[in-house]
């Protein structure tokens, strides 16, 4: 082993869900790759990071992030988005294609990867558009885009509403084993709505979006999965009915999975009171009934991933009348503490919680991340699980501040983030 390229993370509580590991151990890293987890023999000049009292886990994988570049650099860039990720303990992000130009062509995929190599501090995996221009009409080049480095396909932000097009997308993707990620909202039911339909929307006089807008789309898509055999994943699932449908499909053995976002399992549409545009996103915050269903889905293992739908915005897009405000909230820097509320609340164990943010999404995307298996890239997060702190959006490392969690008291603080054995974030640095 060569000098200077050896690193030992010593004395932490190593939690590696993929390997069923949760014990005090050391992690030996060489040349950016995991060598051994346990009590390895350590070369004399190995650099040591003491992790006593900290959890040492695989770096988090967020399969749903908007980096905004190319095209919307005033909202966020690959550099600022990945900086945010690193600060949140996230070492791999899947980047949604609703950029300008849209990631619907191998050349745009290449551009995103090039930018990420130069300016990114964590791993970036592009998601390609299902349809050209996100218009819902013609399929993008799945094969060529996969070769260029795409890990999945989605028209996120828009829904593939046309049933025939969705059928073909699932069918064609099956030939490549590709994953289709649907932003499931029936546009004709959304129809100008800007928050969840319910007591709060009625009081505030805001046009509501019925929760069925999501369930109906998921129901339809599951029938298409039955028809086509394509791999189908529901993005930011928010509706109790949709979760039930996913559970039913899984029970039938269909290749159907879903992710949930921290804001959906920790907040309800009451957060919109006062017309807070930082509580506006698509799909919208739902009722307590839906929130409880998501918690149950997490506990029962129906949900495969926690994903942030990190959506940075410039202040101008949010500092307007509620209905005119852009959809979306940032989430990378609050992902871990909000998700740890699931552990303190007894919904899932720490290992289950981390699995939802590491090995499970990595497996869905088919990337060699999210595990501490020897031979895999040394992406790690070191965090203090008990440290109490208050979320302060003014101190975010990314460029945007649009979070509904500002001021929330949480536990669990990221101390260090490593990508391929290199420290990319260190608290207080």
């Amino acid at each position: 082993m060569e000098m200077g390229q050896c690193l030992l993370i010593k004395g932490g509580r190593v939690v590696d869900p993929a390997n069923n590991l949760d014990e005090t151990a050391d992690v030996l890293i060489a040349d950016g790759v995991i060598v051994q987890v346990g009590r390895p023999e350590v070369p004399g000049n190995c650099r040591i990071i003491h992790a006593d009292g900290l959890v040492v886990a695989p770096g988090l994988v967020d399969m749903h992030v908007h980096l905004r570049e190319p095209g919307y650099e005033y909202k966020g860039t690959i550099a600022s988005g990945t900086r945010s990720a690193a600060a949140g303990g996230v070492t791999s992000v899947a980047a949604m294609p609703n950029t300008r130009p849209v990631t619907d062509d191998p050349s745009v995929v290449g551009h995103v990867l090039d930018k990420a190599r130069v300016g990114g501090v964590v791993n970036v995996y592009p998601i390609g558009a299902i349809t050209k221009g996100l218009l819902g009409v013609e399929l993008s080049e799945f094969g060529l885009m996969l070769e260029a480095g795409c890990v999945a396909f989605s028209d996120d932000g828009a829904t593939v509403a046309d049933t025939g097009v969705m059928r073909r997308a699932l069918e064609y993707a099956r030939g490549f084993g590709a994953l289709i990620i649907q932003h499931a909202e029936d546009p004709s039911l959304v129809s100008g709505g800007c928050m969840n339909e319910g007591v709060t929307s009625s009081r505030l006089g805001l046009p509501g979006i019925p929760v069925e807008s999501e369930s109906i789309m998921v129901d339809r898509d599951i029938r298409l999965v039955q028809l086509t055999g394509g791999r189908y994943h529901v993005a930011h699932l928010s509706a109790a009915g949709a979760l039930e449908a996913v559970a039913g499909a899984q029970a039938k053995g269909l290749p159907v999975t879903c992710e949930v976002a921290p804001h959906h399992f920790s907040l309800t549409d009451e957060a919109v009171n006062g017309y807070d545009t930082y509580a506006k996103m698509a799909p919208p915050l739902r009722s307590e009934h839906d929130r409880n269903a998501l918690l149950e889905g997490l506990a029962r293992g129906i949900v495969s991933a926690i994903a942030t739908d990190h959506a940075p915005h410039d202040e101008e897009s949010k500092k307007v009348e509620f209905c005119c405000a852009a959809n979306g909230v940032v989430g990378l820097e609050t992902l871990l503490p909000i998700s740890l509320e699931l552990v303190s609340g007894g919904v899932v164990t720490l290992s289950q919680c981390l699995a939802l943010m590491t090995c499970k999404p990595a497996r869905l995307l088919g990337i060699n991340r999210g595990v501490l298996t020897p031979g895999f890239p040394a992406d790690l997060v070191l965090f203090d699980m008990m440290e109490a702190w208050q979320i302060d959006s003014g101190k975010f490392h990314g460029s945007a501040r649009n979070t509904p969690f500002n001021g929330r008291k949480v536990r669990g603080r990221v101390k260090k983030t490593l990508v391929a054995g290199k420290i990319v974030f260190e608290e207080g640095q």
Binding site: S191, E197, G198, V199, T200, S201, S202, R203, L204, G205, L206, P207, G208, P210, G274, Y275, E316, K319, V320, E321, F322, C323, C324
Partner: protein
């Protein structure tokens, strides 16, 4: 009716209970505050019947009417209210909001604020626009209607109008008074503000209309009863408040036709007979004759108090402007 009316019979007289910088909605306006405004309004009524309709109360005060939505009656009412109290009143109509291109709402108001008006009266097509402005800027704001959300001065003038008729209904106060708010409740800020204000006063509020025009979970949101059959909904009520139906509602499949709408939810003389004998008919205007209300009812001065509402609107707006322009009048 008139300036000499006593408000003590509907509650303890607390003329100085108003201590707000803005008037944004009826949501947490208390009974005492409402009575305080009614009382102030009553004292201003007499001014509107003088030969020279002007008092110096707000001399040197500046009021800006900032209207992002077409309005004739509300704008005129606020304008006249300010002028009759000798305030300087400026009207600004802005064709487009931030939805379209152009200056943002907040920049427009910041510009006006820099000229130091005492009150800015704002009407806007988006729900919550005034709350958004109040949160981000310093100017005192009166909400003259925001989207589907609130129209507090309309609710206050309606409460004043009902109040005037309590003796005819043989009532002491609002307790147990039955009010049916009928028609396009979904899109109505008038319905929402009235439901809140009337409930605060002790009335029993009903929303009546086709299911497509009633907001979701409205019983829980507003403490009202919902009726889809008009005949059932107005049975025995003391007040029938009709709402304007925008003719374009057919385009989005809310209702099939005006003919069918009028047949089932239009207020006719025959239908009105189902309400209490002393029941009054109200409408915030502008009316669509033959759509939500028959002319035979609208023009029946025995029952229709629609023009009294307009007169009371002026008095209420004088009262609200007075309270917001003169901090010393607040407690």
């Amino acid at each position: 009716m008139g300036a000499g009316i006593s408000y003590s019979r509907v509650g303890t007289m607390k003329s100085n209970l108003w201590n707000r910088k803005h008037l944004l909605s009826m949501r947490d306006i208390g009974r005492g505050e409402i009575l305080s405004i009614l009382e102030t309004a009553a004292s201003f009524r007499e001014v509107n019947h003088r030969d020279i309709k002007k008092v110096p109360t707000l001399r040197g005060k500046t009021i800006i009417n900032l209207f992002y939505e077409n309005s004739t009656r509300t704008r005129t009412s606020f304008e006249l209210a300010g002028k009759r109290m000798s305030a300087d009143v400026i009207n600004m109509s802005v064709a487009s909001s931030s939805v379209k291109k152009g200056e943002t709402l907040i920049d427009t108001l910041a510009t006006l604020q820099a000229m130091n008006p005492d009150v800015v009266v704002v009407r806007h097509s988006e729900s919550g626009a005034q709350e958004f402005l109040a949160r981000n800027l310093n100017a005192a704001i009166i909400n003259a209607g925001d989207g589907r959300h609130a129209h507090p001065t309309q609710a206050l003038l309606d409460i004043l109008t009902i109040h005037d008729h309590l003796p005819i209904m043989g009532r002491e106060d609002f307790q147990g008074l039955k009010v049916a708010i009928c028609g396009d409740v979904l899109h109505s800020r008038v319905a929402r503000s009235n439901a809140q204000g009337l409930a605060t006063m002790g009335a029993e509020v009903r929303f009546v209309g086709p299911p497509t025009l009633i907001p979701a979970k409205v019983e829980e949101a507003f403490n009202v009863k919902v009726y889809h059959q008009m005949d059932e909904g107005i049975q025995g009520v003391d007040v029938v408040m009709m709402l304007r139906l925008q003719q374009e509602r057919m385009a989005k499949a809310y209702i099939p036709s005006i003919r069918e709408y009028f047949h089932y939810w239009g207020l006719t003389r025959k239908r009105l007979a189902l309400a209490a004998d002393t029941a009054i008919v109200m409408h915030p205007g502008p009316m669509n004759r033959g759509v939500e209300i028959a002319s035979e009812v609208a023009d029946d001065l025995e029952r229709s108090v629609i023009l009294e509402q307009v007169a009371n609107g002026l008095a209420i707006r004088m009262a609200v402007l007075y309270r917001l322009c003169t901090p010393q009048s607040r407690s």
